[in-house]
């Protein structure tokens, strides 16, 4: 997708819409290592929000906080006004039915074929007659362009195709929130283009809120309404892709322009170079 055919709505600030997902002052640590130190993030209903950051900043952890798979040590995580950490199992599951998530590697169930994979949530949660179920599944597969692959097994799909099937599965229950965990990772340019188009068009067509976690700056710039850049467990920059590109902070600059060295150092901490070479025998 070139900037020529980027929809006009990208980057536009939506009028005073409510925030579907809000994280306020979230602290979370794993084994005494802090992952989030007072994180504040909010996502507007109907928008595509991107979460970016260097590897290991806990982007996936953030998603798990939103889906309620983990609980924050402090702070609030609100989804549609409900505090996720406080929900009982049944309520949590009810909330999850309103969300759809696309995993990095698709996470298709390997013992079911494509059709059954997409049908899975329907079979588990609804008692739709078989004919209706078939129509829904085929419709969703058509939306991602894979209606013809319905009989294939996950092992027979390429990475891009698997991800598209996973997307079809994520939208089969018509969720209100769609979460994408590194949707562009490892894809060839064509597949990337396909996924980008799908994210954007699904967002428009279904009126949902999309949250995209990625570090592909160029792709994000083309589809996100708002982006958050995380570093060291906090938000270091937020705003439209344009605003981030013009951001003065050095770490934002390093990330957005892909510079090898900067606030995130090139060299892993090591003793003095000269001393180690000439001193001999110390360290690795």
């Amino acid at each position: 997708m070139t900037s020529a055919d980027r929809p006009a709505t990208v980057g536009a600030v939506r009028p005073a819409a409510d925030n579907v997902v809000v994280l306020r002052g979230v602290h979370y640590a794993v084994d005494d290592k802090p992952v989030f130190r007072g994180l504040d993030v909010s996502m507007c209903r109907g928008s595509v929000t991107a979460i970016m950051g260097p590897s290991g900043t806990g982007k996936t952890t953030l998603l798990r906080l939103i889906t309620g798979q983990i609980k924050a040590d402090a702070g609030e995580v609100l989804v549609d006004g409900l505090e996720v950490a406080r929900l009982g199992r049944l309520d949590l599951y009810a909330l999850r039915r309103r969300m759809g998530m696309l995993f990095q590697n698709g996470a298709l169930l390997t013992d079911l074929d494509v059709f059954e994979n997409v049908a899975f949530p329907l079979r588990e949660h609804t008692r739709l007659p078989e004919s209706l179920l078939r129509i829904i599944v085929l419709t969703k597969l058509h939306a991602v362009g894979l209606r013809g692959a319905a009989a294939l097994m996950p092992q027979q799909l390429s990475g891009g195709m698997a991800r598209r099937v996973a997307l079809a599965r994520a939208i089969v229950m018509d969720p209100e929130i769609l979460i994408y965990d590194e949707p562009f990772a490892g894809l060839d340019p064509i597949s990337m283009g396909v996924v980008m188009r799908l994210i954007r068009s699904l967002n428009e067509a279904l009126g949902i809120t999309s949250i995209v976690v990625s570090h592909d700056v160029r792709e994000i710039a083309q589809i996100a309404d708002e982006s958050y850049l995380l570093s060291e467990g906090q938000v270091v920059a937020s705003g439209s892709p344009q605003q981030l590109r013009d951001h003065p902070s050095p770490i934002v600059k390093q990330f957005m322009e892909g510079l090898a060295d900067g606030p995130v150092p090139f060299h892993y901490p090591a003793p003095d170079y000269r001393e180690q070479l000439l001193g001999g025998g110390e360290g690795a």
């Binding site: 009810a94 039915r97 969300m99 996470a107 390997t110």
Partner: protein, 256 residues
């Protein structure tokens, strides 16, 4: 000295933690069992997975074990001049000990590892996580049917093993060594009681529950990496073997 004591305490505590986790897991499964028995489709698939697919190895090994029993038994009994006891002795051995224990060990090796690696792989490829997000409880959908499938399949496999084993004994004793067929069976009938069959089946059920539980637990708690899954399958076999033999002693002591 203090450091050693401290380390010892730590490993003891983590051992306790493990046991606690296993207990909690088991209770969870037990609580879900009544509901699990209703999901016919899933259950059937897992009984097939654990049972029907293990039939070949169970029957083959059963036959060989029976034949060895026949050979060894015949040789030993000849020294005491009571060769006619071959049928009874072998049948009782198979029924009460060899059948349940060997079946359990074979089951752990074939079905146990399959269960553990299936679940472990699902964990490593985020399939379990995906299910959670789709508001489907992986315990109910994936773990429970496999556990029940294994627990149901085991006693049945044990029975098949014993029957095939007895056939093997018969093959050697009657066909090969020429023990009178009528005597062989009548002696057996005379010494085997219903409670012996009951003992064997109770052991089969107990071992089935234990080995399936271990396999399913290891798979579910495997490290989500390739090595993690590998480790989980190894641990399944090892722990299943130890627990089976321990249970064997306990049950034998209780039932004798």
């Amino acid at each position: 000295m203090r450091a050693v004591a401290g380390e010892f305490l730590q490993s003891f505590l983590s051992f306790l933690e493990r046991i606690g986790r296993l207990a909690r897991f088991s209770f969870q499964l037990l609580a879900l069992t009544p509901g699990g028995l209703l999901r016919g489709r899933l259950l059937i698939e897992q009984v097939y997975n654990a049972g029907a697919l293990s039939l070949v190895i169970i029957m083959t090994c059963g036959l060989f074990v029976g034949m060895v029993l026949g050979l060894q038994g015949h040789e030993l009994l000849q020294r005491f001049g009571s060769v006619e006891m071959l049928g009874s002795g072998a049948a009782l051995t198979l029924l009460k000990e060899l059948g349940p224990v060997v079946t359990a060990l074979l089951f752990a090796g074939r079905a146990g590892t399959a269960l553990a690696s299936e679940i472990g792989l699902m964990r490593a490829t985020d399939q379990l996580s995906a299910m959670e997000i789709m508001a489907v409880d992986p315990m109910r959908r994936v773990v429970l049917p496999r556990f029940l499938g294994g627990a149901i399949a085991m006693p049945l496999l044990t029975a098949v093993f014993v029957v095939v084993g007895i056939y093997g004994v018969q093959l050697i004793g009657v066909q090969f060594f020429g023990i009178d067929q009528g005597q062989f069976w009548s002696q057996m009938r005379g010494s085997v009681e219903l409670r012996d069959v009951r003992e064997g089946l109770v052991k089969g059920v107990a071992f089935g529950v234990a080995c399936s539980l271990i396999a399913v637990y290891e798979g579910y708690h495997a490290d989500p990496t390739a090595e993690g899954v590998g480790r989980a399958t190894t641990r399944t076999v090892v722990i299943s073997a130890v627990v089976t033999l321990l249970l064997d002693y306990i049950l034998t002591a209780l039932m004798i």
